[in-house]
């Protein structure tokens, strides 16, 4: 028997059935976790935000447009929740040293390099101001247009562009510095 589609699961969940919603959680928890992890930068906090995202989604399941795919919607719910949390001036916590997964057919050295690169990108993202981080998230990981980002963040289009372009500049500088640092460390 074919697995139920997201649409079927949402319909059942809307009727108050808990198991179909559980299945939706299992399908999208890693995706949602990654949105939260990129934005919050800390694993434990990202897990909490992932849970909160699904609770919020359950509350607002009636607002989900059944003609659209579920993944972008749940990712947007997660991003909005993280945005609210980041805006509520919380003290910065330390960055996790992530064990980024790499393709299994890579050599250990290549896998190590890729893991290092991922770690550097995460660190660079984490060091961005929150309002820059969120536009990067929405543009690069949610593939939103400038207009959609402006609507989501409730900011003018000009701010979306300036935040995004400055964020990229900072990221480029940060990554260049990290690479040079790593290169110097290798040479020593």
């Amino acid at each position: 028997m074919d697995a139920p589609t997201d649409r079927d699961l949402v319909l059942c969940a809307r009727r108050g059935e808990s198991e179909p919603f559980g299945e939706l959680v299992r399908r999208y928890q890693t995706t949602v976790f990654n949105v939260c992890y990129r934005l919050m930068g800390e694993r434990r906090e990202a897990e909490d935000m992932t849970q909160e995202t699904f609770i919020r989604a359950l509350d607002r399941l009636d607002t989900f447009n059944m003609d659209l795919p579920f993944a972008p919607w749940i990712k947007r719910v997660a991003a909005n929740l993280c945005l609210n949390r980041l805006e509520s001036a919380r003290p910065e916590s330390s960055l996790d040293d992530e064990r980024d997964e790499s393709a299994s057919d890579e050599s250990p050295e290549a896998a190590h390099d890729e893991s290092e690169r991922a770690k550097q990108v995460r660190r660079a993202l984490r060091e961005l101001p929150a309002h820059y981080r969120i536009v990067v998230e929405l543009r690069h990981y949610h593939d939103m247009s400038y207009d959609e980002i402006a609507q989501t963040m409730k900011i003018p289009l000009s701010d979306v562009k300036s935040h995004l372009f400055r964020a990229r500049k900072i990221l480029a500088e940060q990554l260049r510095e990290n690479r040079e640092g790593a290169k110097n460390a290798k040479e020593l």
Partner: protein, 186 residues
């Protein structure tokens, strides 16, 4: 002729597919001819790739059970919430009735005292008016004001409305507090 380079903003918008077809064609023409801008756009593209190729972090535990438990807590909390609301509403109605019942004799008492006081003042002021005949008219006017009966029914109504308004505010305030507590709880 001095060559005008493409701005960083335009390069960003070009890679974000936010330009019109005419602008894209214009920039692509320029990039074919300008090594400097071509290098800059390639660097920016590499940055895009680096950001977007970030591997997915692994979620080390299944959160579905915890989400279900949190959702159930929320569901079981709801009837309790309604029960609290209902209890508060009943309490408010009872409080209004009791307040009205308690206040009625007090109002009657206050009115009696007012009438007695007004009568004493009447005697005094009449005597005093004999001594000071010039102010008699003014005092009589004062007397008239003092001896006017209080609007009992209107007072009761105002007090009952005040008690009801306070009760409603109390219910709403507590309702908001409980709701926010419930949200935090879940």
């Amino acid at each position: 002729m001095k060559r005008t380079h493409t701005t960083d903003d335009l390069l960003n918008e070009y890679l974000d597919h936010a330009l019109t077809q005419t602008q894209r064609t214009e920039i692509e023409g320029h990039l074919r001819e300008c090594d400097e801008c071509s290098t800059r756009v390639n660097e920016l593209r590499a940055l895009f790739d680096e950001i977007e190729s970030l591997p997915e972090a692994k979620l080390e535990r299944d959160l579905s059970k915890e989400v279900a438990a949190a959702a159930n807590r929320r569901v079981t909390f709801a009837p309790l919430l309604w029960l609290l609301f209902a209890a508060q509403a009943v309490a408010a109605v009872v409080a209004s009735a009791v307040a009205g019942w308690l206040i009625q004799p007090l109002i009657q008492q206050t009115v009696d005292v007012n009438i007695l006081a007004a009568q004493s003042i009447e005697t005094l002021t009449v005597e005093w008016a004999n001594w000071v005949s010039e102010s008699q008219i003014a005092l009589e006017q004062t007397l008239q004001t003092l001896t006017q009966p209080l609007p009992f029914e209107a007072s009761m109504l105002i007090i009952a409305m005040l008690v009801t308004a306070v009760s409603l505010l109390w219910i709403t305030g507590n309702g908001l507090l409980i709701t926010s507590l419930a949200r935090r709880h879940t």
